[in-house]
């Protein structure tokens, strides 16, 4: 038997100061991110903020400054540029979305063709989102997050006793907020695809939590003399290797996406990777300690 972890006996519950420190700072970050999002200060993708992105693929390497100069000459000043030198790709975006959105994309390609003579390129991607669509997608995303959270809450409440439901829900929110915070501090763009990743994390983070909870529930049924913190600790130790291995296989797949999946999917894969790590951590250090809030009585000893 090849074992990643031999029989462990780590005192997870006793390390609550580490938990409070790590989770506390992640939560603060996440909450700052949410406030910033609400105030429109965060790095919102154009699918939420409205605007235009044009992705140009040049035949030969091109300097970013010269593209900027070409756009400047064409009177386009409020643009942000990003390049992927390995693919001769330049991504030009602007948050401008008033008037005829089709014209903005036109203006960008016109300015490049006119003022950057000799540079041959193809337009790989044009995305123009009017303000109306942007605000609709924003509210749709918010609705989706609330609906997913409610759905999970209802399911967990139905399958587990109340305390477990609370623990699982807190852990789920913890994970989503933490990943949002990580994105915020890294200055990464929050767009539709990242929100989908957050929802996926919400669903997946429960996998680990359920694994741990199942075992706690089982052990609580058998044991009646052992103090609850010990039961929880032993349960976590018992399932530690499977918690880590299930996360690890999904982590492997997401890592392949992150490295080889191309830049469209890059941030998505990053969010999933972060979500898997935070989710594994939270099922051990967040979800289970929450159960102890009810340690005085043992209403969930039997089911």
């Amino acid at each position: 038997m090849l074992e990643l972890l031999k029989k462990t006996n780590i005192d997870f519950i006793g390390k609550k100061y580490i938990t409070i420190l790590v989770s506390g700072s992640l939560m603060v970050l996440g909450i700052i991110a949410i406030v910033a999002l609400a105030m429109g200060k965060a790095n919102l993708g154009i699918d939420f903020a409205g605007g235009t992105t044009v992705e140009l693929k040049f035949e030969s390497p091109v300097k970013l400054q010269s593209v900027r100069a070409a756009l400047d000459k064409g009177g386009l000043k409020d643009v942000s540029l990003q390049d992927i030198p390995s693919e001769n790709r330049v991504i030009i975006s602007t948050k401008r979305s008033e008037g005829d959105i089709n014209k903005i994309a036109h203006d960008i390609t016109d300015a490049v063709s006119k003022n950057l003579s000799g540079a041959k390129y193809v337009v790989d991607l044009t995305t123009s989102i009017g303000p109306k669509v942007g605000s609709k997608l924003r509210s749709d995303a918010a609705k989706a997050i609330i609906m997913a959270a409610l759905g999970i809450l209802i399911y967990v409440a139905f399958r587990f006793k109340f305390q477990f439901g609370v623990g699982a829900t807190i852990a789920t929110f913890h994970d989503v907020i933490a990943v949002l915070g990580i994105f915020f501090i890294l200055g990464k763009e929050i767009n539709l695809i990242v929100v989908s990743a957050l929802l996926t994390i919400a669903g997946y983070s429960l996998t680990d939590t359920v694994v741990v909870f199942d075992r706690i529930r089982e052990n609580l049924r058998i044991q009646s003399k052992e103090p609850i913190p010990n039961v929880i600790n032993r349960s976590i130790n018992e399932v530690l290797s499977r918690t880590i291995i299930t996360s690890f296989t999904t982590f492997l797949a997401a890592l392949a996406l992150f490295v080889f999946g191309g830049d469209v999917i890059h941030d998505f894969a990053f969010a999933i990777l972060a979500g898997i790590i935070v989710g594994t951590y939270s099922s051990i250090y967040v979800a289970s300690p929450v159960l102890l809030l009810w340690k005085k009585n043992r209403p969930f000893a039997k089911k």
Binding site: V122, S196, G203, L255, A256
Partner: protein
């Protein structure tokens, strides 16, 4: 027990064959299948999303207000002529979504009440203000959206796109999806053109006409309009003609003073086609009027010989030739330095008819063909590497049992692609990500079972019962963890746009199939082995 195992293997075998049959169209193998197979077996397979095959995703808003306005203008005209007939002097104007009549009188008010019940009074007094009833204006907006959809469909059909999708969304939005379009700019121009064709008489007699500059730079139109705003005679307007010097390539705009009222419109057309000028080989569009239009055209040309008649599309003058003589037969030409494509597209929009109201673009996602194929390539590489990494890890960590899990994983992939092909689901780039994530999650269930089995073995149980009780105990854990993922996938499907929907589809199918492969697939192999051979030790 043995018999039970046999049936389960048969079930697995049949589902695999069915999956392969459905997915076959997506493989190069399909072309080598016999004729009868290509005809009568499933032939559509998985559909590639716009982000993978390239194409356009456009969302337009039909400006219903403009359609209401057009109707109000018609009523204003009717009211004015009715008032004139009764020798009542009054001004009737459309202002925004209101008709304003001033000065008003009780006779006019009662005439309107009697004849136009769909007009509601907003305010009375010196000035009578009317508006379209809410019910009627809702009907006009709805009709406008329906008509716009029909017109766009006609235009696209004539333009020639393989599998277009044109749908209404909400109250006044139209979603157009055009996969694989080579020239997106041309397609967008074709759809967005209102294509309101009008014939208007040029007012060369007014002294103002002589004061107009002979030609201006493009972009200076507004300053000319401003300069002449007070001088334009009542009932006249200034529009511009685009003039291209074919030798120098310089474009100039020529202001023309016209009578506001159109003497003939595109509604009277019966045909529009591209023809070539016999002398220069330059393309132009020849149009033919229907019977009524032809009669009207003959009257107009007969009554206005030596005057100029302007041909106007969407407020741009294409040409303003002098009428040499009365023109019978009901045909005319639209010239204007067209390229062949421009002439073709103009003929298409004229044939398909005008949009009932202008369109406003709300969203445009145009994916070039190379980006799509790059994405597929990257997705394939990530998928293969991710799958191999997981397969290798499982084998190293769980030995023979790991191989069984790997078998389940491959089974999972085959069934997933089969199911997508069966549903003719759309594969998008996030969808590929969903497949890869599903691969990672697929072995989760096996890990849960294997760990459980290991525990049972440690507890000293014999191989066979260790496997059985390991499965039994892991079942609910597996079920719970899958259902929560399904919940979020369902939400994603509900709210997501195209690409995200693709992710939700592959993820949820992957997770659902995973329940099947883990519980039927892996278990059957274990059962087969433990029942056929008297296994003492599980390689796990």
């Amino acid at each position: 027990m043995k018999k039970n195992v046999f049936w389960r293997f048969l079930l697995i075998g049949v589902t695999v064959i069915v999956a392969v049959v459905f997915f076959l169209p997506n493989t190069p193998l399909f072309k080598h299948m016999p004729q009868w197979w290509q005809k009568s077996m499933p032939h559509k397979g998985v559909v590639m999303g716009l982000d993978l095959q390239g194409g356009l995703h456009l969302v337009y808003e039909v400006e219903g207000d403009k359609a209401v306005q057009t109707n109000l203008k018609r009523f204003a005209y009717l009211i004015k002529s009715a008032a004139e007939k009764k020798n009542m002097k009054t001004d009737v104007n459309v202002n925004g979504l209101n008709i304003e009549i001033s000065p008003s009188s009780p006779e006019i008010a009662s005439m309107i009440r009697a004849n136009y019940p769909i007009l509601e009074t907003v305010s009375t007094g010196q000035k009578l203000v009317l508006k379209m009833s809410d019910k009627e204006s809702a009907k006009i907006r709805d009709n406008a959206a329906d008509q716009a959809l029909e017109t766009i469909r006609n235009r696209i059909d004539q333009f020639g796109v393989a599998e277009p999708s044109i749908q209404r969304q909400g109250e006044n939005e139209i979603v157009v999806e055009l996969p694989g379009v080579k020239d997106p700019g041309r397609a967008i121009d074709l759809i967005g053109k209102t294509a309101q064709l009008e014939f208007k008489l040029v007012d060369d007699e007014s002294p103002v006409a002589a004061q107009l500059p002979s030609a201006i730079q493009p972009g200076d139109e507004d300053s000319v309009l401003k300069q002449f705003a007070d001088k334009i005679p009542a009932g006249d307007q200034i529009l511009f003609e685009r003039k291209l010097n074919s030798e120098t390539g310089i474009v100039r705009k020529v202001p023309i003073l016209l009578k506001k009222e159109a003497v003939l419109t595109g509604d009277s057309l019966s045909e529009a086609k591209v023809s070539l000028d016999s002398r220069f080989g330059e393309p132009y569009v020849s149009i033919a009027f229907n019977a009524e239009g032809a009669k009207r055209f003959e009257e107009i040309t007969g009554a206005n010989v030596k005057k100029r008649l302007a041909i106007i599309l969407d407020n741009n003058v294409y040409s303003a030739p002098v009428i040499q003589e009365k023109i019978a037969g009901g045909s005319a030409q639209i010239t204007g330095n067209f390229t062949m494509d421009e002439a073709k597209d103009l003929a298409i929009v004229l044939r398909a008819g005008a949009l009932p109201a202008p369109l406003k673009m709300l969203q445009n996602v145009t994916v070039g063909p190379t980006l799509g194929s790059d994405s597929i390539k990257a997705g394939k590489i990530a998928g293969i590497i991710g799958t191999l990494a997981v397969i290798l890890f499982m084998f190293i960590y769980y030995k023979m049992s790991g191989l069984i899990a790997d078998f389940a994983l491959v089974l999972n992939l085959i069934l997933l692609f089969g199911a997508m092909a069966f549903l003719n689901a759309t594969l998008t780039l996030p969808g590929i990500a969903g497949v890869i994530l599903a691969v990672g999650m697929a072995v989760d269930s096996n890990v849960l079972m294997f760990e459980r089995i290991r525990e049972e073995i440690r507890a000293g149980k014999p191989a066979r019962s260790a496997v059985d009780s390991g499965y039994d105990k892991a079942w609910w854990t597996i079920f719970d963890s899958h259902v929560t993922t399904l919940i979020t996938a369902a939400v994603l499907f509900q709210f997501g746009t195209g690409p995200i929907k693709g992710f939700a589809v592959t993820l949820s199918l992957g997770v659902a199939i995973n329940l099947f492969t883990a519980l039927i697939g892996t278990k059957s192999i274990f059962d087969l082995i433990t029942s056929r051979y008297n296994i003492k030790k599980v390689s796990i």
